[in-house]
C-alpha cells in the first residue's frame, strides 16, 4: 500500500478510534477527533514530500470485472496525483484539521458522531482528489453525500432539514448526470482510467462528445455552483454548522472546479473552446448576480454565500479563457477562495458563539469590543475583494488576464464584478466593525488560543500565496502542461 492509499483511508483510523471512545466522555471524543484529523494532515505532508522528491505515487490494482468475453469491463482501483490535485489534497487535510479544532468549541452536542461523520466526509473528499479512475472518483464523490446530509440535518441551524434535503436532491441529480456521463464513456471506450481517456475521448464522435460535455457541465455546475443551480448551496451556507461550512465552502465546493478542469478541459478541450463564450457568460452571470445579491443581504452568512457564488464565477471565467494564464487563475481562485471562505466561516462561528447573531444590524461596532476579531474579519474581506498582496488578487488578475487575451469584451464586462465585490464586502464588514451597533455585553471573550492559531495559519497562507505565488505555480507547471497539450495551446 502506498502513501496515497494510506492518506485517503487514514481518516478511518480516527473513525475506528472514535467508535471505541466512551459515549459520554466529550473531552476524549474531541481529542480523538482532532487526532483523527491530524493523521491525514501529516500523511498529506509526506505525500507532498514524496511527490517533490519525484517518487512514484500512483498505484493500480484490479478491482472487479463486469461482463465477460468480448463485453468485458475491468474496473481498477487506481490512485494518483498531479500538481493540482496535490494542492487540493493539502488544502483538504489542512482545512479539515482546522475545522475540527474549531468544532470543539462551536459544536454543542454529540461530538463523537459529529467527528465520525466529519472524518468520513474527509475520506470522501480526499478520495475524489486522489482518484485516477472514473468509477473510483464517482464512488468517493457519492461518499460525501450521506455524511453531509446527516451533518447538516442534525447539527445545523433553523431550517436544517430543509437545507439537508436541498443538498441531497441537487447533489443527487448532479451525481446522476455525472454517472451517466462516466458510464457512457466507459461503455464507449472500455476503459475507466482518466489518463487513457484523455487521449481516447477526443477521437469519439462529435454528437456524443457534446452530450457528455453538457452532462459534465451540469454535474459540476451543481457542485461549483453555476447559477441557477446555486440555491442549495446558499441554504447550506446559512443553515449548516459553521465549522462544517469551513469544509463545505473551503474544499467540498472545489470538487466542482476540479472536475471542470480535470474532466471538462482534460477530456473535451475542443468542446470547451467552442463553448468558451457561453462559459465565460455563465461565469460573468455568476460573478455579477452573486455580487448584486450580496449587496442587499442583511445577514453575514448569506452575504458570504453569495460571495462564494460570485467568486466561483471567476473560476468559470478563468477556465473559459482556455489558455495558461486563465486556467492558472482558475486554479488559484479555487485554492484562494478555499482559504478565504474557511477563514470567514471560522470567524462567523466565533461571532455566533459570542453574540448569537449574524444580522448586520445587530453586529455594529465590533472593533471596540473584539478588536482582533474585527481586524481579521477586515483582512479577510480585503483578501476576498482582491487586494494586491493577498491570494485573491493573484487569482483574479490571472483569470482576467487570460480572458482578455481571448474574449476581451466579456472580460471588460466582468471586471465590473470586481468593483461590486469591493462594495459589498466593505459594506458588510465595515458595518460590523465600525458601524452603529448595540451595546455588547462586557464579558465578550476575545479570540482564544485554539481559535487564534487556525486564524493565523489561514491568514498566513493567504498572504503567502499573495506575495509569493510561485509556491503554487511551481507545483502546477507540469499539470498545466498536460492539460494544455490537449487544448493545443
Amino acid at each position: 500500500m502506498s502513501w496515497l492509499s494510506l492518506l485517503v483511508f487514514s481518516p478511518l483510523i480516527g473513525i475506528l478510534l472514535l467508535t471505541i471512545t466512551p459515549k459520554h466522555n466529550a473531552n476524549m471524543a474531541k481529542l480523538v477527533g482532532v487526532i483523527g484529523a491530524v493523521i491525514p494532515f501529516l500523511l498529506s505532508l509526506i505525500v507532498f514530500q514524496t511527490f517533490h522528491a519525484g517518487n512514484e505515487l500512483s498505484e493500480k490494482l484490479t478491482w472487479m470485472t463486469l461482463g465477460q468475453d468480448a463485453f468485458q469491463f475491468t474496473i481498477n482501483y487506481e490512485l494518483g496525483v498531479n500538481g493540482f490535485s496535490l494542492i487540493l489534497l493539502l488544502l483538504t487535510t489542512l482545512i479539515s484539521l482546522l475545522s475540527m479544532v474549531i468544532a470543539r468549541t462551536q459544536v454543542k452536542t454529540s461530538w463523537r458522531s459529529y467527528y465520525i461523520l466529519c472524518l468520513l466526509l474527509e475520506l470522501g473528499i480526499l478520495g475524489v482528489f486522489a482518484a485516477e479512475n472514473l468509477i473510483l472518483f464517482f464512488i468517493f464523490f457519492e461518499l460525501t453525500l450521506l455524511p453531509m446530509f446527516l451533518l447538516i440535518g442534525k447539527w445545523g441551524g433553523l431550517e436544517r432539514e430543509k437545507a439537508a434535503y436541498s443538498y441531497l436532491i441537487y447533489n443527487g441529480l448532479g451525481s446522476a448526470a455525472l454517472l451517466i456521463v462516466f458510464v457512457a464513456l466507459i461503455a464507449k471506450t472500455g476503459t475507466s482510467n482518466m489518463t487513457e481517456l484523455m487521449t481516447i475521448v477526443p477521437q469519439l464522435d462529435d454528437g456524443f462528445r457534446m452530450g457528455a460535455f453538457i452532462g459534465l457541465l451540469l454535474a459540476f455546475g451543481v457542485k461549483l455552483p453555476i447559477i441557477p443551480l446555486h440555491t442549495w448551496m446558499v441554504r447550506v451556507h446559512v443553515y449548516a454548522p459553521t465549522a462544517l461550512v469551513m469544509i463545505h465552502a473551503g474544499v467540498l465546493l472545489k470538487i466542482g472546479a476540479y472536475g471542470l478542469i480535470r474532466f471538462g478541459l482534460g477530456f473535451f478541450p475542443a468542446e470547451f473552446e467552442n463553448m468558451a463564450p457561453l462559459i465565460a457568460i455563465l461565469g460573468i452571470v455568476n460573478l455579477l448576480y452573486g455580487a448584486f445579491i450580496a449587496l442587499v443581504q442583511q445577514e453575514l452568512r448569506r452575504i458570504l454565500a453569495y460571495s462564494s457564488v460570485s467568486h466561483m464565477g471567476i473560476v468559470l471565467i478563468g477556465i473559459a479563457a482556455v489558455n495558461e494564464a486563465g486556467v492558472q487563475g482558475a486554479i488559484f481562485q479555487t485554492v484562494s477562495h478555499g482559504l478565504i471562505a474557511a477563514l470567514f466561516f471560522l470567524l462567523v462561528g466565533v461571532l455566533i458563539e459570542r453574540t448569537g447573531t449574524t444580522e448586520l444590524k445587530k453586529l455594529g461596532g465590533l472593533a471596540k469590543v473584539m478588536p482582533v476579531t474585527a481586524g481579521v474579519l477586515l483582512t479577510a474581506a480585503l483578501a476576498s475583494l482582491g487586494l494586491p498582496g493577498m491570494s485573491g488578487f493573484v487569482s483574479e488578475f490571472m483569470a482576467f488576464l487570460g480572458l482578455f487575451e481571448t474574449l476581451p469584451i466579456l472580460a471588460a464586462i466582468g471586471t465590473l464584478g470586481l468593483i461590486l465585490t469591493a462594495v459589498y464586502m466593505l459594506r458588510a464588514v465595515l458595518n460590523i466593525t465600525f458601524g452603529e451597533g448595540p451595546t455588547y455585553p462586557e464579558n465578550l471573550r476575545p479570540l482564544s488560543g485554539t481559535e487564534g492559531w487556525p486564524v493565523f495559519i489561514l491568514l498566513g497562507m493567504i498572504v503567502l500565496i499573495g506575495v509569493y505565488p510561485t509556491v503554487l505555480t511551481d507545483m502546477l507547471s507540469t499539470t498545466l502542461e498536460t492539460i494544455l497539450i490537449g487544448m493545443g495551446g
Partner: protein
C-alpha cells in the same frame, strides 16, 4: 409411458427439486401425525436443512452440459441453475426470518407455513427449468397458490384475510390473462414447447398473423407483470404486502418476484428472441421491447413517487419493491449481452438488502406494534447497531456506492449504455427515479438519527433474526466493496455465450 422410458431420464439432475419435494412431504406428514404439543417451529430447521442440501446438489450441477428430460419439457441449463441459486438462498433467509416471527394469539398454523413455503419454492424452481408452456404454467400456479394461502395464514386477522383476498383475485385475473396470451401462442404454432414455438413462429412477421403475434406478446407480458409487480399490475402489491405477515411479505417481494423475472426472461427470450422482427435486421423481441421500456419507466417513476407519501413502512417497502422491479426490467429492455449478469447480480443484491430491511422492520413492528414510519424514531439512540444495519440496507436500496445496490446499478447502466445505440433515455429515467427514491430512504435516516424515541425500551434480537441481519449486511457490504467474489465465480462457471445461446435455441 412405460417404466423403461421413465427410467431413461437423467433423474439425478432433478435432485435439488426432489430434495425440496421430499422435505415438504415429510413436513406435511409430520404436521399431520405429530401430537399438538410438539412445537412446529422446529420445522424451520428441517426446511432449511432441505434447502441447504438442495443447494449442494445444485452446486454439483455447475458446469454440467445443458440437457432436457421428460420429452423436452424440463431443461437444465446455465440459466436455470444460476437463477435457482437465487430462489434457494432467498427462501432460506425467509425461513430464518420466519422462525422467530410471532404474532399474538396466532400460534396454531406454524406447520403449514413451512411446507407451503417449500412448495412455493418448488414451483419457482420448476418455472426456472421449464421448457414448455404447460410445465411453466404448472410451476407458476404451484408458486401462486401456496402464496395466496401464506398471505392469509393468520386466519383471525382481518388484514391478513383482506390481503389474501386481494391477492387471490388479482392473481386469478392475471393468470387468466397469461393463459389467454399463451393460447394465442399455441394457436399460432400448434405447440406448447418453447423450441417448437420458436421454430414455427420464425416466419410469422412475413405472414398475415403478425398482429396476432404482437397481441400474444403484449398479453403474455401484461399477465406475467403481475408476479413482478410492475405497471400495469402493481396495484395489489402495497395492500398485500401490508396485510401479510412480514416473512410472507419478504417472500413475495424477493422469491416470488425473482421467479417472475425468470419466467419472463425464459418465455420472451426463447420464443420471441429468435424470430425475425417487424423491421429489418432485428428480432421480434427488439421490435417490441419499446413497450416494455415504457412500462419499466412508468414502474420506476410511479413506484418511487407514490412511495414518497407513505408512512406505513410495509407499504413504503412495497412501493420501493415496485420501483426495483422497474430497475430490473432495464437490462431486459436494453437486451445487451450483459443482461443476464446484470439481472442475476441485481437480484442477489436486492435479496440481501430487501430481506435485511424486512428483518429490521419485523423486529421493530413486533416491539412497537405499529407499522408507522415513527417506529424508526430515535432508533440510533435506542439500538445503534440496528440503526447502522438499517442504514446499510437503505443505502444499498438507494444505490449509494460501497453497497451491493450500487454495483448492481452500475452493472445495469453499463449494459444499457453498451448497446448500440445506447439506451440513454431509459438510464436517465432510472437515475432520476433513483434520486427521487433518495427522498424517502433518507427520510428514514431523519427518523433514526434526528428524532427522539417514543419508546426507550431496549430492543432484544432473537438469534435467528440476528443471523439474517448479519448475513444480509455482510452480503450487501461484500458485494459492494468486492463484487469480484461473486462475479468471478459466476464468470468461471457460467459461460455467457452458452447462457445466451441456451435461451435463443
Amino acid at each position: 409411458m412405460d417404466l423403461d422410458t421413465l427410467l431413461q431420464f437423467e433423474w439425478s439432475l432433478m435432485a435439488p427439486e426432489f430434495t425440496i419435494l421430499i422435505v415438504a412431504t415429510v413436513l406435511s406428514l409430520l404436521d399431520l401425525f405429530l401430537r399438538k404439543e410438539v412445537n412446529r417451529n422446529h420445522f424451520a430447521w428441517l426446511a432449511m436443512g432441505g434447502i441447504a442440501l438442495s443447494f449442494v446438489f445444485l452446486l454439483s450441477q455447475l458446469g454440467h452440459e445443458s440437457s432436457m428430460i421428460l420429452f423436452d419439457t424440463y431443461r437444465f441449463d446455465p440459466f436455470s441453475i444460476s437463477f435457482k441459486f437465487v430462489l434457494l438462498a432467498g427462501t432460506f433467509l425467509v425461513l430464518l426470518l420466519s422462525h422467530s416471527y410471532k404474532e399474538a394469539g396466532e400460534g396454531g398454523y406454524r406447520g403449514e407455513f413451512y411446507y407451503l413455503i417449500l412448495i412455493a419454492l418448488l414451483g419457482g424452481m420448476m418455472m426456472a427449468s421449464s421448457a414448455d408452456l404447460i410445465t411453466l404454467f404448472v410451476g407458476l400456479e404451484m408458486l401462486a397458490i401456496p402464496s395466496y394461502i401464506l398471505a392469509g395464514i393468520q386466519k383471525r386477522s382481518t388484514r391478513s384475510n383482506e390481503s389474501a383476498m386481494k391477492y387471490i383475485i388479482n392473481g386469478g385475473i392475471s393468470t387468466a390473462i397469461t393463459l389467454f396470451g399463451f393460447s394465442y401462442i399455441y394457436g399460432l404454432t400448434g405447440s406448447t414447447q418453447l423450441n417448437v414455438i420458436a421454430q414455427n413462429l420464425s416466419n410469422i412477421t412475413q405472414s398475415s398473423a403478425e398482429g396476432l403475434a404482437i397481441m400474444a406478446f403484449l398479453i403474455t407480458f401484461v399477465g406475467l407483470a403481475f408476479k413482478i409487480s410492475t405497471v400495469p399490475f402493481y396495484m395489489w402489491t402495497p395492500d398485500v404486502y401490508e396485510g401479510s405477515p412480514t416473512p410472507v411479505t419478504a417472500f413475495l417481494s424477493v422469491v416470488s418476484k425473482a421467479a417472475g423475472f425468470i419466467i419472463i426472461l425464459r418465455v420472451f427470450m426463447s420464443i420471441f428472441g429468435g424470430i425475425a422482427g417487424i423491421r429489418l435486421n432485428e428480432t421480434f423481441l427488439e421490435s417490441m421491447i419499446i413497450f416494455i421500456g415504457v412500462l419499466a419507466s412508468l414502474t420506476m417513476i410511479i413506484g418511487n413517487t407514490i412511495a414518497l407519501r407513505q408512512r406505513n413502512m410495509k407499504r413504503l417497502l412495497a412501493y420501493s419493491s415496485i420501483a426495483h422491479a422497474g430497475y430490473l426490467l432495464v437490462p431486459f429492455v436494453a437486451l445487451s449481452p450483459m443482461a443476464f449478469e446484470s439481472m442475476w447480480f441485481y437480484m442477489i443484491a436486492y435479496m440481501f438488502m430487501t430481506l435485511g430491511a424486512f428483518a429490521v422492520l419485523q423486529v421493530l413492528i413486533r416491539q412497537s406494534e405499529s407499522e408507522d414510519l415513527s417506529i424508526f424514531s430515535g432508533l440510533f439512540h435506542r439500538s445503534p447497531g440496528l440503526a447502522i444495519l438499517m442504514t446499510i440496507f437503505l443505502l444499498s436500496l438507494a444505490g449509494i456506492p460501497g453497497t451491493a445496490g450500487f454495483i448492481g446499478k452500475l452493472n445495469i447502466f453499463l449494459g444499457a449504455l453498451f448497446t448500440e445505440p445506447g439506451n440513454f433515455t431509459l438510464v436517465a429515467i432510472m437515475l432520476i427515479a433513483t434520486v427521487i427514491s433518495y427522498i424517502y430512504y433518507f427520510g428514514i435516516f431523519i427518523q433514526m438519527f434526528f428524532r427522539h424515541a417514543e419508546f426507550q425500551t431496549r430492543i432484544r434480537l432473537p438469534k435467528s433474526i440476528s443471523a439474517v441481519l448479519v448475513i444480509c449486511a455482510a452480503g450487501t457490504i461484500i458485494l459492494g466493496v468486492l463484487p469480484g467474489t461473486l462475479l468471478d465465480f459466476y464468470h468461471q462457471h457460467i459461460d455467457f455465450n452458452e447462457l445466451t445461446g441456451s435461451l435463443w435455441k
